[in-house]
């Protein structure tokens, strides 16, 4: 999925260390396709034990409707490697998550699904946490995030991941093109790669 600039309201879930079991609980992982995973997003926070909607959860508030940017606490996406987490976020319309830090596996998984992990410094983060419902613009080419009425703030992103998102480069296609190098490497390692035979 290509990514250029994104202007959207933000929805804030001000919780640190949101783990992937909260983003999507394990009982949703029995699916063998990606379909329908969106329903599992934050489901145990979004719904009360009796199945009714929890009106206090930020994603359930009227102002969250249509928001494509999620602002969360530190260390977002820790825990399991399930790619179902970014799939569920994307299926709910999210294109970016903003935090001070991301767990490594989540960050990689998000980037592969056109979901941009945006890392901001603590002072900017604090301001965003207090700006629920306000509009933010993310410019990937310039690597800036701008809160309405504010100054652009730079964010870091791996150069290759950026190119993949901007140009819609297919990572697997890139890897398949390295076939000759892979075959040469394997030839060099014959005898030191332990096969299952």
């Amino acid at each position: 999925m290509k990514f250029e600039t994104l202007t959207s309201k933000i929805v804030v879930v001000p919780v640190d260390n949101i783990d992937t079991d909260q983003i999507i609980p394990a009982r949703y992982l029995k699916a063998i396709s990606k379909e329908g995973l969106g329903e599992g997003l934050f489901v145990d926070w979004r719904k009360n034990p009796d199945g009714s909607l929890n009106p206090d959860f930020p994603l359930n508030k009227a102002e969250a409707k249509g928001a494509q940017i999620l602002v969360a606490g530190d260390n977002f996406g820790c825990g399991s490697s399930r790619e179902h987490a970014p799939w569920a976020l994307v299926q709910n319309g999210f294109r970016a998550v903003v935090s001070t830090s991301f767990a490594d596996i989540f960050k990689g998984n998000a980037l592969k699904n056109g979901l941009l992990p945006v890392i901001v410094p603590p002072d900017v983060h604090k301001q965003l946490l207090a700006s629920s419902g306000k509009t933010v613009t993310i410019d990937l080419a310039a690597q800036t995030l701008t809160l309405e009425g504010g100054q652009p703030v730079q964010f870091p992103i791996d150069g290759f991941a950026k190119r993949c998102l901007l140009d819609g480069v297919d990572e697997l296609g890139y890897m398949l093109n390295q076939e000759a190098a892979i075959a040469a490497y394997e030839a060099k390692r014959v005898g030191s790669i332990n096969t299952l035979q």
């Binding site: 079991d21 009982r27 699916a31 063998i32 820790c78 490697s81 490594d104 596996i105 990572e171 790669i193």
Partner: protein
């Protein structure tokens, strides 16, 4: 694999050595293409990857370096019963079909090699020093106990490895975690890693690979090292490893997939070059004094929220950072615990001995040593779930199954079971468990369930008394 001297004079860590010898190519402006020596797979994180291969008309490049098992959705009730949950059954059926269509060796529910992916790799000698090893599962870090660079990947990357046997990766930093001294009676490997995570926090190792060093680590068995490496991800590190030594080689020698004869000798030569060089640089370091450790237990909703068994539940009032304060408050509310109180003596409904952290034979032996000659408290439901069929057979050969059953515990077939509650083994809302697994996230063991993470010894002791218990009081 190159001996360290070939790569120039700069001293390298074991992580750098494994990395250097697995870079296939490094194109400008792109991450390195890293070769993967072994790819393990299970039913939950692979179906969408196989679907992608089908869509694009691709094959599995190296089925001879790929192996699959069923563990997550797999029921742990009798193998004579079919899989009753239709959704879980569909996932297991999909795994059968995918492995058959793509020529991947699968240990299905009825194979005597079946088990939790991170238990069967080591026990069959698949996991070896110096390897790069991946699985669509964050606890792949377990295999680092053998001095392998082993880490979890997402489903897109599972597809990449299936198709190319490679991954696009950027190098990680190495974080030295030194544990020195002698463990006291009743204190185990699980307590070491819970203490490490309590100290550095669950994001402390982000961007790093842990290398566990020091006299205490050297003195641990392979199974204990696996317990420690397993939970590296709970400290935020994608991988954690222990350099191989005689303990490693003795464990491996003679196992099914371990090299034999002259190939073994050549492998051994390579493996001996792996340990970090004198003077190698670490991005971060932490030292822990094993002499001061107590059995650990978690009170909150992430694995970093741990205290010594004699400790008290922290008070949010004493935390200054506002988000940290609200997280602690939220955790205590979910757990329904009072700040300032001890956790010892808190009632327990369920005890779970299992998971890729603590379901190996030494874990079952430890739990059985406490249970033997005693009865599980009538208020407690105790579930013992071996990590693999082979662990189960070994436990039966040693009579451990009888010890558990006679005490009133349930002894099951192998699988992940109540570690993530996908297969029907789960907590009821509001129930408390003492669990030997690795995650105490909200709802991890069943919606509304509450988890205290601890060692097999602590879990067994708590099963007997019905409350969170210091095992040393029963020793």
């Amino acid at each position: 694999m190159k001996p360290s001297s070939e790569a120039g004079s700069r001293p390298r860590t074991i992580v750098e050595k494994i990395w250097d010898s697995h870079v296939v190519t490094q194109q400008p402006g792109a991450p390195a293409l890293l070769y993967i020596d072994l790819h393990l797979s299970h039913e939950v994180t692979s179906p969408q990857a196989f679907a992608m291969l089908r869509e694009r008309g691709l094959k599995v490049r190296r089925p001879d370096l790929t192996i699959a098992t069923m563990d997550h959705s797999t029921p742990t009730y009798s193998l004579d019963l079919p899989v009753l949950d239709p959704v879980g059954r569909a996932q297991l059926d999909a795994m059968e079909k995918n492995c058959k269509d793509f020529g991947v060796r699968l240990y299905n529910r009825h194979s005597d090699h079946q088990g939790i992916v991170h238990v069967i790799g080591p026990e069959q000698g698949l996991t070896q020093p110096g390897m790069t090893l991946v699985c669509g599962d964050s606890h792949t870090a377990t295999h680092g106990a053998f001095g392998a660079l082993a880490f979890g990947i997402g489903t897109s990357q599972v597809g990449h490895v299936l198709a190319t046997q490679c991954l696009l990766q950027t190098p990680s930093k190495t974080y030295a975690i030194r544990v020195e001294g002698t463990l006291k009676r009743g204190v185990s490997a699980k307590d070491i890693i819970l203490a490490v995570i309590a100290q550095i926090g669950i994001g402390g190792g982000t961007g790093c690979v842990f290398e566990y060093l020091g006299s205490t680590i050297r003195g641990l068995s392979m199974e204990e090292r696996m317990t420690i490496c397993n939970m590296s991800i709970e400290g935020g590190a994608r991988a954690g490893l222990v350099a191989p030594d005689d303990t490693t080689y003795q464990y491996l020698n003679g196992r099914e997939f371990a090299p034999k004869g002259a190939v073994w000798d050549a492998a051994l030569e390579r493996w001996k070059t792996l340990p970090s060089d004198e003077g190698a640089e670490y991005a971060k370091e932490l030292t822990l004094d094993a002499n001061t450790l107590e059995p650990m237990v978690t009170f909150g909703t992430n694995p970093g929220m741990g205290i010594p068994i004699s400790g008290r539940i922290p008070d949010p009032a004493s935390v200054s950072n506002p988000l940290e304060k609200s997280d602690l408050t939220k955790a205590l509310k979910y757990m329904d615990l009072e700040p300032g109180k001890p956790l010892q003596g808190h009632p327990v409904n369920v005890v779970f001995v299992g998971s890729c952290t603590n379901s190996r034979i030494s874990d079952l032996r430890a739990a059985a040593s406490v249970i033997k000659g005693r009865k599980v408290n009538p208020k407690v439901r105790m579930l013992v779930v071996p990590g693999s069929q082979q662990v189960k057979h070994q436990a039966e050969a040693e009579g451990l199954d009888k010890i558990f059953r006679e005490a009133g515990a349930d002894f099951r077939e192998a699988g992940c079971s109540m570690c993530l509650a996908m297969n029907g083994d789960q907590l009821e809302p509001g129930e408390y468990s003492v669990s030997t697994s690795n995650r105490n996230f909200e709802g991890r063991q069943g919606k509304g369930g509450r988890t205290f993470l601890a060692s097999p010894l602590t879990a067994a002791a708590s099963a007997i008394t019905g409350v969170v218990t210091d095992v040393r009081s029963l020793m």
